[in-house]
Assembly symmetry: C2
């Protein structure tokens, strides 16, 4: 386990360069020497999977499955069906991980919504196993509980993953979990379950609860400490740089990618 | 333990009616039949303690002590001295509780900042005991870690309170802790330590990380479930309505107070 890190570990989540077409992304990554990307379903147009398969770029994960809780059983079935399609898309891309953003509650009953998440994962797990895709539960920051996920601590994500025999893991995103005083103990408990590690930074002040992330080094997260913790827990896979912030799109993209690579190797 | 609640339990935190002078607040509370208030240090002008002592209104808590972590030992001493003054102000007001917002880290080392919080509390505890003021550690929502507090879970607040023999308790603010899947277990563990319970609501979407709170019933917090949990843990004191949102100041104040009272008795 090295203290410093090689750029070969970097995976560029394409939300970081939101607005790039897939072709632009492939070209930009080739120029910057980035061999792995993370993609979102809405970024995949016609023939994207084939183009990616034909390129030399690997895909560390597909965002996102999840969003299971809904107020009616009928709607929950619709969500489960959509997750089955996401699993097929991940398999077609050849990525080993479908990142799961589990979804908010349809009402005030968080416990019931958390049960719906468990039931949803149970329903799609056979499909995931059949396609060789691991479901990576990503706990989100608690400020996203109303809009994005009832799973807001690494502890409950690990509990969920452990509850299933195999096929379910966790994705540790530094931005979502760094605040947790018990995060290193939970990462340790996630040994063998970590299927992704995402980095960005927490800006002070944080002015957006959705899209206010910073480039590594511009905020207050001790990213190296967390990277060493996930490595101690056995994770040696790609590290996704996922910086969701609309302000980034106003920057020169090649310069942004250069900055991301430099901060990655010096700070992560 | 009643399922429904009487308005006599309501304490109006004056941030809810920000902009009211202390005299306006006392008059407004008298009109609405509210017998208890929560106050902030910056709301206390000359002679405020005496005016409050002369009135029939009780004070459930003084906001706020804390803000211990700082980059230099000299600055940490300044903060501790300020906390000693806050304890004296609480004693002068006759309130049993100084609400502690523990402060953010001065750098990326959250663990070090958490130790500074513990050291700060240890330093001022003799003063608190001497003045008969309990230090109520209020864990804040994790989205406030960069600007307001490194203490962001009820679990660590309870751990801290337990670490001191006596004189230190916890303040449970529904807005700050409702997202936690283990909140009811932690409230149970806080038996005998709870010295305050605050209510407001979590709006969806939440557009401000600082001042975006809603009136009870306008958001997604199951307030009654949490109120019953703190009562099962032995807390029977005042329940502070603390709604921090600049939009409230545009409403008619008397109407706002009526709405607060109505929502309190029907939803908390």
């Amino acid at each position: 386990m090295a203290v410093t890190i090689d750029q070969s570990r970097l995976s560029l989540n394409l939300k970081t360069v939101d607005g790039w077409s897939l072709d632009e992304a492939l070209e930009g990554c080739a120029q910057a020497g980035i061999g792995t990307i993370g993609v979102w379903r809405d970024q995949l147009g016609n023939g994207a999977a084939a183009r990616l398969a034909a390129s030399s770029v690997g895909v560390s994960g597909l965002c996102r499955g999840g969003f299971f809780p809904a107020s009616t059983a009928r709607e929950r079935v619709v969500r489960i069906d959509d997750n089955r399609r996401a699993i097929e898309e991940a398999a077609e891309l050849g990525t080993p991980v479908l990142v799961m953003v589990c979804g908010p509650a349809p009402d005030r009953d968080l416990a019931a919504a958390r049960r719906m998440v468990e039931e949803g994962i149970e329903a799609i797990l056979p499909d995931a196993l059949e396609h060789g895709v691991t479901l990576g539960i990503e706990p989100l920051h608690p400020m996203m509980i109303g809009e994005r996920s009832v799973i807001v601590t690494l502890r409950e994500a690990v509990d969920l993953a452990v509850a299933f025999d195999h096929g379910v893991g966790v994705v540790v995103d530094a931005y979502h979990v760094f605040w947790d005083p018990y995060v290193e103990a939970e990462i340790d408990r996630a040994r063998g379950l970590i299927v992704g590690f995402h980095v960005s930074d927490w800006l002070v002040p944080t002015t957006s609860t959705v899209a206010g992330r910073g480039v590594m080094g511009d905020g207050i997260i001790d990213l190296r400490r967390l990277r060493l913790a996930v490595e101690r827990a056995g994770y040696e896979g790609p590290i996704e740089v996922e910086i969701i912030n609309p302000e980034l799109s106003s920057r020169d993209r090649d310069e942004l990618v250069r900055l991301v690579c430099e901060r990655f190797t010096t700070l992560v």
